[in-house]
């Protein structure tokens, strides 16, 4: 039973990170019908800038929670700026062209950002300091749940609830949902579509940056290539839940994380990703629009 609980928690932790990243994919897809391959790279850049800012702050003599808060704010702003810029360069000029052209420019952007970080920083693995806070409360529950697991699950849940509220109850969220439903109609009712798209990228990138800090603290090391695998998994999670749907992305992330965790625990640890992908194929055979995706009626 204890083994089961460990696997369950491990899967939940992993799943929350996938969900945070999958939200970025699903939001962009919902509005632009575009697979943003550079999203994983934003997450990687988030982890790198968190490392840099945190190191500078620690060398200035700051410790503990203040480092975490300042580094998080800086990283979120910074990653959001990257998301904004990436959209302006690689996707905006291509908005009128066929659906595959932005996909290729996204792949190009992904290669570009990876190599940019590799050249400007390093191609080796860097040790990442554990920024997550320690406290008596966390120590007291550490027999049930690891402190970093606890923080990751709670933080992701909080961030995702905030996003849901934002989309449901603010004017900006309403504009986003309207643009996702019908871009032309939203434009006619006075929604500034360009601004909505920019904001979508900013929010998605901020979520990716938070994911980057959490996972880098948890794993303890980063390099320029971490974004790639995380990106593919998160995209898988988004499709699994039904791409374009926000609760679907969260559910997809959690299902994917749990499947990987139980698969490695009970069957074989060599085939971690195989379980995730096999589950994806199985689910899509029986539900071609993902778990929570709406089956769109085809019309001529």
């Amino acid at each position: 039973m204890n083994f089961f609980w460990d696997l369950f928690l491990g899967g939940l932790t992993r799943g929350s990170i996938y969900a945070l990243l999958a939200l970025g994919y699903t939001m962009v897809y919902g509005i632009l019908q575009l697979i943003n391959f550079a999203h994983g790279e934003i997450y990687m850049i988030g982890a790198f800038s968190a490392l840099i800012v945190a190191s500078i702050l620690t060398m200035q003599g700051l410790t503990g929670l203040s480092v975490l808060i300042l580094a998080t704010i800086a990283t979120v702003l910074y990653a959001a700026a990257y998301g904004f810029t990436v959209e302006k360069i690689a996707y905006k000029p291509l908005r009128q062209s066929s659906r595959l052209s932005p996909l290729i420019s996204a792949i190009g952007m992904s290669i570009f950002l990876q190599n940019y970080v590799m050249l400007a920083q390093t191609s080796d693995f860097l040790p990442f300091p554990n920024l997550l806070p320690q406290s008596n409360f966390l120590d007291s529950i550490s027999s049930v749940i690891g402190p970093s697991d606890f923080i990751i699950i709670v933080t992701s849940a909080a961030v995702m609830s905030a996003l849901t509220l934002l989309l449901k109850f603010t004017k900006m969220g309403k504009a986003m949902r309207a643009t996702a439903q019908d871009q032309t109609m939203a434009m006619l009712t006075g929604v500034n579509v360009n601004r909505v798209i920019s904001r979508t990228f900013i929010i998605g990138s901020a979520l990716a940056a938070i994911g980057g800090i959490l996972i880098a603290s948890h794993v303890g090391r980063i390099n320029f290539y971490i974004g790639f695998n995380a990106g593919i998994k998160a995209f898988t999670a988004a499709v699994l839940g039904g791409i374009g749907s926000v609760p679907g992305a969260v559910l997809g992330g959690l299902v994917l994380g749990l499947a990987e965790s139980f698969g490695t625990g009970y069957i074989s640890s060599d085939y971690e990703s195989v379980f995730a992908f096999a589950l994806l194929i199985l689910i899509l055979i029986f539900k071609p629009d993902g778990i929570l995706g709406r089956s769109s009626q085809q019309k001529v």
Partner: protein, 403 residues
């Protein structure tokens, strides 16, 4: 001043980029010794680079916008050149002569590079059947390539079968795998299909990597024999040249077959499927059959290319069949212009040869490649040589003949 607006904009953009790249470009932390290195000089580079690039970027983007408004149906110069028989016939002749004398003129290394490029031509044309013609976005094309390569390596290792025996076997096995992938994805559309094909490719790669008793794991299979030449022993140089001519011949076959397919009944069915699935079914095209043949025929070329790849490098391991490879082949198809055979050949040669000749910039070649993908897509979203549908003319009997 004519460009005042652009210059002002570029200044702002340069400042934005300095801010944006500051932590990554300027600061370098050494977390072990707790040292920060500040590389201030990089600011100047980023600033000047961003200024110049954004200036030209805006200039060209504006030019593109205005030209789109004034002449929407303009055919590009490259397209016009290639459609003019007076130009393309001699050009084809020159290219043919060049291909024949290539090994005699250039070094062993160049011949090897060219052979690799020709393998990519085959892969690009094969994927073109799936993506360009049938509109099935396949992000896991490399799986079929791997099936071909591994079927040659393993069947040769276990049963000692030769290259010529296994070339069709590899192609058939890949085609079979294509149908296997095709069946579950029949109901899926667009991006769901893309992620499922990607999932299949990743599963295959991970299995090859971990199932040591079957595929020898990450260390791969070495000492794969080169193709035989009527039982004569060839030196490595000679067999490289032999490989080159083999690929020229097979590429010629690929071009011929894909060209004929494109203008055949099934080819037109694929295009109809790409344009509108529902309308295509309404005209009486069997959707299942069309999709599965597209998968099988596309996969077949990848399988053949895989056999050739294994025979050329004499060593394969799962690291050659990552997602990046699929992305590379897909960029060949999209850069060339979907469905356009000359465009894809051009793009395949460009994409494989450019990084090779960019080795001078060794570290920078991948970053330049990424930038080139973005720039080409922004300024030529239809690809280098966009495909134009064959136009059938209605010949009216001449007025004189009537009389």
């Amino acid at each position: 001043m004519k460009y005042a607006c652009e210059l002002k904009q570029s200044t702002y953009i340069a400042l934005w980029f300095i801010l944006l790249t500051f932590p990554i470009m300027v600061v370098k932390v050494n977390t072990i010794e707790n040292i920060i290195v500040w590389r201030w000089i990089n600011i100047v580079g980023v600033g000047v680079g961003a200024f110049v690039l954004s200036f030209f970027w805006q200039l060209y983007l504006r030019k593109k916008m205005t030209s789109q408004q004034t002449a929407p149906e303009k055919v590009s110069i490259l397209n016009r050149l290639i459609e003019n028989p007076k130009i393309y016939r001699p050009a084809l002749f020159i290219v043919g002569i060049f291909a024949l004398i290539f090994p005699a003129v250039f070094s062993h290394y160049q011949v090897n590079v060219m052979t690799t490029a020709l393998i990519y031509v085959m892969l690009g044309l094969g994927l073109n059947i799936e993506v360009g013609l049938a509109g099935l976005l396949d992000l896991g094309y490399v799986a079929f390539y791997a099936v071909g390569a591994y079927s040659y390596a393993l069947l040769n290792y276990h049963f000692g079968l030769g290259f010529w025996m296994l070339l069709p076997v590899g192609a058939l096995l890949a085609a079979f795998f294509g149908i296997l992938v095709g069946f579950p994805v029949l109901r899926l559309r667009g991006d769901y299909l893309a992620i499922v094909t990607l999932a299949f490719a990743e599963i295959l790669r991970l299995v090859l990597e971990n199932w040591n008793t079957f595929s020898f794991g990450p260390s791969g299979i070495s000492n794969i024999p080169r193709p035989g030449f009527f039982g004569i022993n060839l030196t490595p140089e000679q067999s490289a040249i032999y490989m080159y001519f083999l690929l020229i011949a097979l590429c010629g076959l690929t071009i011929f077959v894909t060209y004929r397919l494109q203008h055949s009944r099934i080819g037109r069915a694929w295009v109809a499927l790409r344009e509108d699935e529902l309308a295509c079914q309404a005209t009486g095209i069997d959707k299942t059959k069309a999709k599965l043949t597209a998968f099988a025929l596309g996969a077949m070329w990848a399988g053949m290319a895989g056999v050739l790849f294994a025979a050329k490098t004499t060593f394969i391991n799962p690291a050659s069949f990552t997602f990046m490879e699929s992305a590379m082949i897909l960029s060949i198809v999209v850069l060339g212009g979907m469905g356009s055979i000359p465009g894809i050949i051009l793009a395949a040669l460009a994409i494989t040869l450019l990084p090779e000749y960019l080795r001078v910039f060794s570290d920078y070649r991948m970053i330049l490649f990424g930038a080139a993908l973005i720039i080409i897509m922004v300024f030529r979203p239809g690809g280098l040589l966009a495909d134009r549908r064959k136009q059938y003319k209605f010949h009216q009997p001449d007025a004189k003949e009537k009389r």
